[in-house]
Amino acid sequence: MRLLAEGLSARRGEDLIFNDISFALSAGEALVVTGPNGSGKSTLLRVLAGLLMAESGSLKLESGPPEMRHPSEISHYLGHRNAMKRELTVAENLSFWKDFMGDSQGGSGKGLVEAVEAVGLPGIAHLPFGYLSAGQQRRMAMAKLLVAYRPIWILDEPTAALDAGADKLFAGLVNAHLDRGGIVVAATHQPLGLERIKELRMTGFSGVGGGMWHDA
């Protein structure tokens, strides 16, 4: 499986946010998107997740499921917001997403208990999501990545609000996903401690050369 982006550009309102971004990711590879605030990292990820239309360029998945319309169908997207309901318990939230999303072909998600243990918070799944601290909420949002299997993970600032221990734990989760042949695209400020990464540095505003990518 290969994820191919060719000449992507995106617009928000009048402004071109980035221009001519191309990359290719094979199974087991991670792309880390870096750059200053406002350089278009989140916009790029939303384009990859199919939530924003690309102004030009194409996004393809080689040797994916034939009936698929867009790579987003086999992707997880972890944005700035956690997509969990404060009023429901953690277990209710996770089991809803597990049922609603289902597993993409080629893998199966972890059980609820196992996923909660994997993010290092066993024993609090019965609490309403709103009772948790910001860091705990973020960890539980990561558990969502584990309960439903998706080969592609699109992560926007995944480690915001996390302590150092959780950073390491998260790097472990991502590496395990890569070992199973997954693809990860992450925007971040902090070094994630990942192996086998490519780096895409977003440089600028509106059309002045979107960015460079090179193997790190």
Binding site: E73, M84, K85, E87, E92, F96, F100, M101
Partner: protein
Amino acid sequence: MIALFFRDLKLSIRAGGGAMIGVLFFMTVVAVIPFGVGPDLNLLARIGPAILWIGALLASLLGLDRLFQAEREDGSLDLMLMQETPLLVTVFVKCAAHWAATGLPLVIAAPLLGLFMNMDELAIGATMLTLLVGTPAITFIGAVGAAVAVSLPRGGLLVSILVLPLAIPVLIFGVSAVYAAIEDPAPFLPPLMILMAITLFFAVIGPVAAAAALRHASD
């Protein structure tokens, strides 16, 4: 999809969900009418079905704006947009859950409020039946308004204004079916059938339009 239905139902019953808001508003509106109109029992019985229908219509508009806005605010909408499941199925299930949480209680509360309005059994039964058939249409129409206004911070009033003109036929045929049931010469079935047709029509059109609006509202 069943998971989505029960999750939405659970959310509307939990704190801040707003399942009871609609039915409380319905009760408030109908309960003050006899005080305003005065103790003319015949008049109350005559306007009863219309008042019940107007109350139910306004009550079902309450809380419609949160249908997709709450999902958008916590990021759930992004994930729903990404899935392989067609978005219109997701929208349809959300509408069904919304109706079960807010529309069905109105139907169940209607007989009690019918007593306030001095309505007889036949009128109460006919009102319940027409509400049962007609209120889903309001939810499906409202879903379109809610989807259009999803990114507006105070979209509540806008949703009502967008939705109300389209919901007027539902009101007209709902009320005329009840009057047809209690007044002899007019036939009961034709308006009821039209009401059903309106509901089925919007059950198809509503989710399609709402899904299209949600796709274009994402940023």
